[in-house]
């Protein structure tokens, strides 16, 4: 069953507890973080609105990073986008292709939120969710999370007339459902992130397997054929030698007849 995060940006107060809980719980290197808070401001003094973009993996159902990942290090599981760093070759295609600019290179490999796969798999919650003092974060079955998000939006319409859900449909449906006070652009979040390039499908599902197969077949064929062909060629060579022996000596002074 698909899981999802709920991230209520009308609750988030920018304290960065999630950032550090994630770093500590996942034992990330000191210079690595999966979550980053980015302040946004609209308007001019004193007519301002502002908030934070809680920048982290959106866990797209149709994840571009998974599509472009050549090694399968990035993969979908339980509706979330996992990363097996041991399988990562560090090609950086995910870094380049993510519509949300989430993955970064750390220590030569891709680095991003994997939804605390180990922790959740063992019955816990993602570290960020456990600690969030604002209870802006929740984690659960996606359908329930989505329903909750809709309730939240309905409840805050008075205060935020433009309140909306983000992530129900984007990129095939996100595993990070946002409750936003305003249009996503106000937090620099793309309203409609681009799909994975179509060519990636062709590349991964046709070109790569076909190429791999063709190469293996060619090598195998060449191996078999090579043995036959070499035998033929050796026979030809022997023929020539015998012809030479039988016929007039070449007369080459260096040649020593056996």
């Amino acid at each position: 069953m698909a899981s999802a995060f709920l991230l209520d940006m009308t609750r988030c107060i920018g304290c960065e507890a999630c950032v550090l809980a994630c770093k500590a719980g996942n034992q990330l290197p000191v210079d690595t973080q999966y979550i980053e808070l980015i302040e946004h401001t609209s308007g001019t003094f004193p007519d301002l609105t502002g908030g934070f973009q809680n920048h982290r993996c959106y866990h797209c159902a149709d994840a571009t990073c998974v599509a472009v990942c050549p090694t399968g290090a990035l993969f979908k599981e339980d509706g979330l986008t996992r990363l097996d760093r041991d399988a990562c070759s560090g090609c950086g295609y995910c870094v380049q292709s993510c519509p949300y600019e989430v993955p970064v290179m750390s220590d030569g490999r891709s680095s991003k939120c994997d939804g605390c796969a180990a922790n959740v798999g063992a019955g816990g919650s993602p570290w960020c969710v456990t600690t969030c003092p604002a209870k802006a974060l929740e984690f659960g079955v996606r359908d329930a999370i989505l329903a909750k998000a809709k309730e939240r939006v309905a409840a805050i319409k008075d205060r935020y007339p433009k309140a909306q859900i983000y992530g129900e449909t984007q990129a095939g449906g996100l595993g990070l459902i946002l409750v936003l006070p305003d249009d996503p652009e106000t937090l620099d979040i793309p309203a409609d992130p681009p799909d994975a390039p179509a060519v990636v499908d062709l590349w991964k599902h046709v070109v790569q397997p076909v190429s791999m197969g063709a190469t293996v077949l060619a090598a195998a064929g060449a191996g078999v054929l090579g043995i036959i062909a070499r035998r033929n060629h050796m026979a030809e060579l022997r023929e020539v030698e015998e012809t030479e022996k039988a016929g007039v000596s070449s007369g080459d002074p260096d040649t020593e007849d056996v």
């Binding site: 920018g14 960065e16 000191v30 210079d31 301002l48 502002g50 180990a118 969030c132 003092p133 604002a134």
Partner: protein, 763 residues
């Protein structure tokens, strides 16, 4: 591919441990599980037995109860203790970085005695035996020559009890001080005592659960990331509570506000008086409440008559409509509408009166003792370990201290000297003012202070006019620095005691005055790293060497703690098994006192003092008036400072995990001003105050989020301590730009928002 396969024992453990009942014992299933084997690098909780210990966090003074999880003798993860009324299982970013703080490679690792000149930072490593003997010899010499009062003891952080409170009182010095008093809370708590007869208390007694309107004056919740306050604020707001934020800066909290009042700095009292005016003239105050519980309503009514919103508007740079509208929003929800007592309130030197004005508005709204207003907090019952009478009564105050009774007579030390900070002369009352003890160290007036113990205070990045502090450090006979890190002032010490962090030591129990009074414990998760020692052990070892044996009768800290806990029917083992806290019953509301036929207000009249006879008697205004604050000179901006969520004071800037997230502070300046000066975000500038002191370089943050007459930066950066890899030379120091402060003549607070800076090129 790494996929999780569940192991039942492990699952149960994690379900209870991580999601958290926080009731973990110590024995927890098999060391390795399927989980461990399915992962090439198994998650830490699957690599061995997880041991949980209980503690209260030391990453800020707020004291969240925490559950510390260790595997194989290594501390890995800290979570909020779910049974703790402050943390409720949650924890802020700084608390999460406690492990990083402990593992900071820059930590002091061995006791040291100075070999070079003071300030050079040259030391030789010595044994604890030598360091303690040497220190004892030095302070005894001071005592013999000048009396015990000549030793000043400064302390901060959650371990400050042992030196600043216990040792100081046993030794006999009234010159023990904490920055959390006169450089933070004194004006607020003195104003509260003058108005209500008790201090606000370390945990502001806001009855958040039922609150309907919250007003913040300068409090920047979110950037000031006190865990509980963030939880309560967000929850109240989500429930529909209205939020009014008064701040010259569009803070994170202002961005959540229903009303943001971008007030001109220094004019808050005018706004508060105008609010009082609206509440009274529009008859929007709680007359019944005041009739029963307050005195001075008539004087207040007469006093505020002239302070209309129209009067306040040009002063505050707000509109009269805004002022009137917000007063009405509050009164419509009273008594469930509270102006939150701020925390760091030492701003302009008239701070006790400003806080009084805040409390008067709160009183008009009838908040104290009311549901959804403010509750009466109560300290938990807990007996002290038996000790002989102290040589002097402590007056260091601080946000963690038990509220002491204000006495007309200042306590005297063993040789008859009262504290040297000028209390009763330079200022009226309140705890010992740390910044007022610096001058006596230089001038010997009123008497010589010859020795200084600095426990955990970042001396040169906390007290204004650091050059003056350095002058004092040069003149002292003896300086002992007790610290975890080689902070800037440590270079000026004669002896350095490296302390074990809160995760490596037992400590004094932490009694929390609260709606439900409760007690927290601190037990070590791991033994002390390096050649470090817990503060209690240093204080005891030193005490035994200077003839204070009677105060340190206990052989082990466990014995000390068990004895105290016995008074509440517990002991260390039981308290651990109970989840690390002992919770008692409170007495939060007016009706609880009415039922007992008592008054909750401990003023002389037993009522709220709207007009203060104490102040009038001492020659101050009985009801606050607005006094203009000095304006910045042409070309200068008022220097405002505050918090960022991942740092505390000048303490955490070197912590690797926190430094990685926020390595240096930024200078908030209004975008239009920056443009006019030719700066854009990211440009690096130096700051120069009107005294010519400079600090920097600091990155410009050109933003619409701040008024044009002020600049803002996070406090605690711009440190000059070579031993601090991450903190040294990063950003600009607000403290180093404070060439002056304004003494609050009532509370002794040092107002620090009276410094002006301009942007300059080059250092």
């Amino acid at each position: 591919m790494a996929r999780v396969k569940l192991d039942i024992t492990r699952r149960q453990f994690l379900a209870t441990g991580l999601a958290g009942t926080a009731l973990l014992g110590t024995g927890m299933g098999p060391g390795r599980s399927n989980l461990a084997m399915r992962y090439p690098d198994p998650p830490w909780f699957a690599t061995g037995e997880v041991v949980t210990t209980y503690n209260y966090c030391d990453m800020c003074p707020w004291r969240c109860g925490i559950a510390v999880q260790s595997v194989d003798g290594k501390v890995i993860k800290i979570d909020g203790n779910i049974l703790d009324p402050k943390s409720r299982g949650k924890l802020c970013g700084r608390g999460q970085a406690g492990v990083s703080f402990m593992n900071d490679p820059d930590r002091l690792q061995s006791p040291m005695i100075r070999t070079g000149e003071r300030g050079e930072g040259k030391f030789r490593e010595v044994t604890w035996e030598e360091a303690l003997d040497y220190t004892a010899e030095k302070i005894l010499a001071i005592k013999d020559t000048y009396g015990p009062e000549a030793l000043a003891i400064f302390g901060h952080t959650t371990g400050d009890f042992w030196f600043t409170d216990y040792f100081a009182q046993a030794w006999g010095t009234p010159n023990a001080a904490k920055p959390s008093s006169s450089l933070c809370l004194s004006p607020r708590d003195e104003a509260s005592k003058l108005t209500f007869g008790f201090p606000v208390g370390g945990h502001e007694p806001m009855d958040w659960d039922e609150m309907e309107c919250i007003t913040l004056i300068g409090s920047h919740i979110g950037e000031d990331s006190r865990n509980t306050v963030m939880q309560d604020f967000v929850e109240a707001r989500a429930r529909g509570a209205q939020v009014i934020v008064v701040d010259p800066r569009f803070s994170s909290a202002a961005a959540k506000a229903d009303y943001w009042l971008p007030i001109k700095p220094g004019t808050d009292t005018a706004l508060l008086l105008a609010w009082a005016n609206v509440l009274i003239t529009e008859n929007r105050f709680d007359r019944a409440y005041l009739d029963e519980w307050a005195t001075g309503l008539d004087e207040l009514t007469a006093h505020v008559r002239e302070f209309t919103p129209e009067w306040a508007a040009p002063i505050t740079d707000l509109s009269a409509e805004q002022i009137r509208a917000t007063a009405r929003v509050m009164s419509d929800r009273s008594p469930r509408a509270v102006i939150m007592p701020g925390r760091h309130v030492v701003w302009y030197g008239n701070d006790t009166q400003r806080m009084r004005a805040e409390f008067l508005v709160n009183s008009l709204l009838g908040v104290y003792g009311r549901h959804g207003g403010m509750y009466f907090n109560k300290s938990p019952f807990l007996e002290a370990y038996p000790h002989p009478p102290f040589a002097v009564t402590g007056s260091s105050g601080g946000c963690s201290a038990e509220p002491g009774e204000e006495s007309d007579v200042l306590p005297l030390g063993p040789t008859g000297k009262a504290r040297a900070d000028g209390a009763r002369e330079a200022f009226l009352r309140g705890p010992t003012a740390m910044q007022e003890l610096i001058d006596p160290m230089i001038t010997d007036d009123p008497y010589r202070i010859a020795g200084l113990v600095v426990y955990g205070v970042n001396l040169l990045n906390s007290i204004p006019i650091p050059n003056r502090t350095i002058e004092a450090l040069k003149k002292l006979d003896f300086v002992l620095a007790v610290d975890v890190l080689p902070q800037e002032h440590v270079a000026w010490a004669d002896v350095v005691f490296p302390e074990a962090t809160y995760l490596e030591r037992y400590d004094e129990l932490s009694p929390i005055a609260h709606k439900t009074p409760y007690i927290q414990m601190r037990e070590p998760a791991v033994p002390p790293m390096y050649d470090t020692m817990p503060g209690w052990m240093m204080a005891r070892e030193l005490g035994l060497r200077v003839g204070l044996d009677a105060f340190f009768k206990w052989e082990t800290i466990e014995e000390y703690l068990d004895t105290r806990l016995r008074s509440v029917g517990s002991n260390l083992e039981k308290m651990h098994d109970d989840g690390g806290v002992i919770i008692q019953e409170g007495k939060p509301y007016l009706e609880d006192f009415v039922a007992d036929g008592e008054t909750p207000f401990h003023t002389a009249s037993g009522k709220i003092q709207l007009a203060s006879e104490d102040l009038a008697g001492a020659g101050f205004d009985a009801i606050p008036v607005y006094e203009p604050t000095e304006e910045p000179p042409e070309g200068y901006y008022r220097l405002l400072y505050g918090r960022v969520p991942v740092h505390t004071f000048a303490k955490t800037q070197n912590t690797p995990a926190l430094s990685a997230v926020y390595p240096e502070n930024e200078l908030w300046i209004n975008e239009d001003e920056a443009t006019a000066l030719g700066y854009v975000t990211g440009d690096r500038v130096w700051l120069e105050n009107d005294n010519g002191d400079r600090s920097g370089p600091i990155a410009v943050k050109a933003t619409q989020r701040i008024r044009k007459d002020a600049v803002f930066m996070a406090h605690g950066f711009g440190q000059n301590a070579e031993g601090l890899t991450n903190a040294n030379g990063r950003g600009a120091s607000d403290t180093k730009l404070m060439s002056r402060y304004k003494l609050d003549p009532i509370s002794g607070g040092g107002g620090m928002r009276v410094n002006f800076v301009r942007l300059v090129e080059g250092g």
